[in-house]
Structure formats: structure tokens, C-alpha cells
């Protein structure tokens, strides 16, 4: 099973690749809405990509109030 840091790294790599942001510009405590410049529909797209990548189901209400990559990684880690 992945460690929390590995999960976090995979999220950052996936987000950078999909939203075409340099990986080195993303940090674990960044507000991903602001850093990636994504709206609500793109957030759903990110959620779907993360579910496919980690092969999990992540109910969207679990993401309520989550805006940084580290907390997102913790929520995903709990589902692995």
C-alpha cells in the first residue's frame, strides 16, 4: 500500500500533468483551486481522475472544505 507521502506525490504529479502546471510549482499545502485555477466543474473532473487513478470511490461530500493537496491526500489514503 502507498504511504501518505507517495499518495501526495501521485496527486501532485497527476494534477500538474492534467492541468498543465509545472510540477515544481505545486506544494502539498497549496490551495489547489487557486494554484490550478480550476472551477467547480474542473474540480469534479479532478475527483474523477483521482478515483480512476487510485481505483477508489471518493464521495464528494468527503471533500467538503478540502482545498489543499495534503488534506486531499489524507482523504484518499483513508480509502485505499
Amino acid at each position: 500500500m502507498l504511504t501518505l507521502n507517495q499518495t501526495l506525490e501521485e496527486i501532485l504529479t497527476l494534477a500538474a500533468s492534467h492541468f498543465k502546471v509545472a510540477r515544481e510549482k505545486l506544494s502539498p499545502d497549496d490551495d489547489f483551486f487557486r494554484t490550478l485555477g480550476i472551477n467547480s466543474l474542473q474540480t469534479l473532473e479532478l475527483l474523477t481522475r483521482l478515483e480512476h487513478h487510485f481505483q477508489i470511490e471518493l464521495p464528494d461530500y468527503e471533500l467538503q472544505g478540502v482545498s489543499d493537496f495534503r488534506t486531499l491526500a489524507q482523504r484518499i489514503q483513508a480509502r485505499l
Partner: protein, 267 residues
């Protein structure tokens, strides 16, 4: 009419396949304009039924199939009326959209929804009237209505009940959560999950395949296996209108219409 280019939807007939494209920015919200054009489509469908064997409904917008009812328009219009008038207006709107949905649901054509991205609320309900749903792997389905103090109003619950086990229906409805195409296929909602950007292509290939079958047999099979739940659809309109009269709905609509947050869809 074999071809129509509207502001919200367009359709055309080619080689026995009718294609209905949704293209109202930002994400195919279903308001009065879309309803009027869908009514034109439903009227034209009767003539098209004799010339075609299949219907494909898809969105040409990148964001997805449809974000559902146009809640901002609903809020704006309902603010211009007193509550009783607003409820009456909503009932009239629901009666009209139900007639459109029932016309597509009961069409003798074999109907395919080719969906991608956001397939929420009324958009999800439009997909549910089709015989088959072919989903891009990035499609996402949701009934978020409870957060507004409402239930789905375009026939969603009776048609979900027709297709799925009640546990899944309750999960979708009572939690308001969204789920992806893989999950949707696992529970029996989606017939095929396809790679990104391929849903329309696969729907077209499927529609070509359907041409090989005898039409009378296909129509008989559809009528046998897919009855329209008219009684429950009527009950849905009644419950929706009862709930719409509650003050909580106005507050929920206002919150959504005025939201500038990044997650307005979350319950």
C-alpha cells in the same frame, strides 16, 4: 422536420440515425429556451420515427452532457412572482418537460444517450429516458436536488427505480453524492464505459449495428421491457410542487444562484 439548428439544441437525420445535440453554454442547463426547443424536437420526432431506427442524444460542449435544470433562471423567474404563482409556473414547466421526456422514452426508435463529463440532475434525467447510456470514462452522475429541499422533477426517481435496485436509488437520492462511469456501469446504469472522447463515436457504431434488426421486433422488445411509469411520474410532479412551496426551497435556490464558491454542487 429533418434538420433543426437551434440556440440550445440541434438535430438532424442521417442514414436512419437521428442525432440530437445539446449545446447551450455554459453546460446545457435546461431552462425555458432549451425546453421550447426540446418541445419542437418531440413534435418532430413523430415524423422522424418512420424514417429512422435510432436516436442518439449527446452534448457538443466540453463540460459534459448537462448540468441539469437552469436553477439560476428558476430562481430569477420565481423571484418575480408570489409563491402561489411560482408554484403554478413550476407545475406548468414540469408538465411540459415530462411530455418531452415521455415522448423520447416511448419513441419506437432505439435511443442512446452518449454522455461525458457532468451528467447532473435534469441532465441525468434526460439520459435516463434513453434505452442505452454509453458513458465516457470521465462522465459523472448525480442527483443534487435534496440540497435545494427538492426531489428530482424531470422523472428521475421513477426511471431510476425502473432501471436500478432501490439501494442505489436511495444512495444517489438521499446522499446527493456523485459517482463516476465505472460505478455507474457496475450498478447497471450504463451499458458501456468507453475511453475519453469516444462516447459519441461508440454510440454511432452501436446505432449502425441496430439497423440490422427488424424494426417491428425491436419496437416490440422495447415496449415489453421498458414500460413508462406514468403513475409514479404524476406522483413525482405532485411531490415536487408540494416541496417547491416550502420556504426552504427559495433559500436553497438563492444560495445556489448567488454562490461564488468553488464547490456549489456539494451537499
Amino acid at each position: 422536420m429533418e434538420k433543426f439548428d437551434g440556440q440550445a439544441v440541434s438535430w438532424g437525420l442521417t442514414d436512419g440515425i437521428v442525432e440530437l445535440a445539446l449545446h447551450r453554454e455554459p453546460c446545457n442547463e435546461i431552462g425555458l429556451l432549451t425546453l421550447e426547443e426540446l418541445e419542437e424536437f418531440a413534435a418532430a420526432l413523430e415524423g422522424l420515427n418512420n424514417q429512422a431506427h435510432a436516436l442518439i442524444i449527446y452534448s457538443s460542449l466540453k463540460c459534459g452532457f448537462s448540468a441539469g435544470a437552469d436553477l439560476k433562471e428558476l430562481f430569477r423567474i420565481s423571484q418575480e412572482m408570489d409563491r402561489n404563482e411560482a408554484v403554478k409556473g413550476v407545475r406548468d414547466y414540469l408538465e411540459r418537460i415530462h411530455r418531452v421526456m415521455n415522448a423520447i422514452d416511448g419513441s419506437p426508435l432505439t435511443t442512446i444517450a452518449a454522455v461525458h463529463g457532468v451528467t447532473f440532475g435534469g441532465g441525468f434525467e434526460l439520459a435516463l429516458v434513453c434505452d442505452l447510456i454509453i458513458a465516457d470514462k470521465m462522465a459523472r452522475f448525480c442527483f443534487p436536488e435534496l440540497r435545494l429541499g427538492l426531489i428530482p422533477g424531470f422523472g428521475g426517481i421513477p426511471r431510476l427505480k425502473r432501471d436500478l435496485g432501490n439501494g442505489v436509488v436511495r444512495d444517489l437520492l438521499l446522499t446527493g453524492r456523485s459517482f463516476n462511469a465505472t460505478k455507474a456501469q457496475q450498478v447497471g446504469l450504463v451499458s458501456q464505459t468507453v475511453p475519453e472522447g469516444e462516447s459519441l463515436k461508440v454510440a454511432r457504431a452501436t446505432a449502425v449495428q441496430l439497423r440490422k434488426f427488424d424494426r417491428r421486433t425491436a419496437i416490440a422488445a422495447k415496449e415489453f421491457i421498458k414500460p413508462i411509469p406514468y403513475e409514479e411520474l404524476r406522483r413525482e410532479i405532485e411531490i415536487f410542487c408540494e416541496l417547491f412551496a416550502e420556504p426552504a426551497v427559495e433559500a436553497g435556490l438563492r444560495k445556489f444562484a448567488e454562490s461564488t464558491g468553488t464547490q456549489p454542487y456539494l451537499p
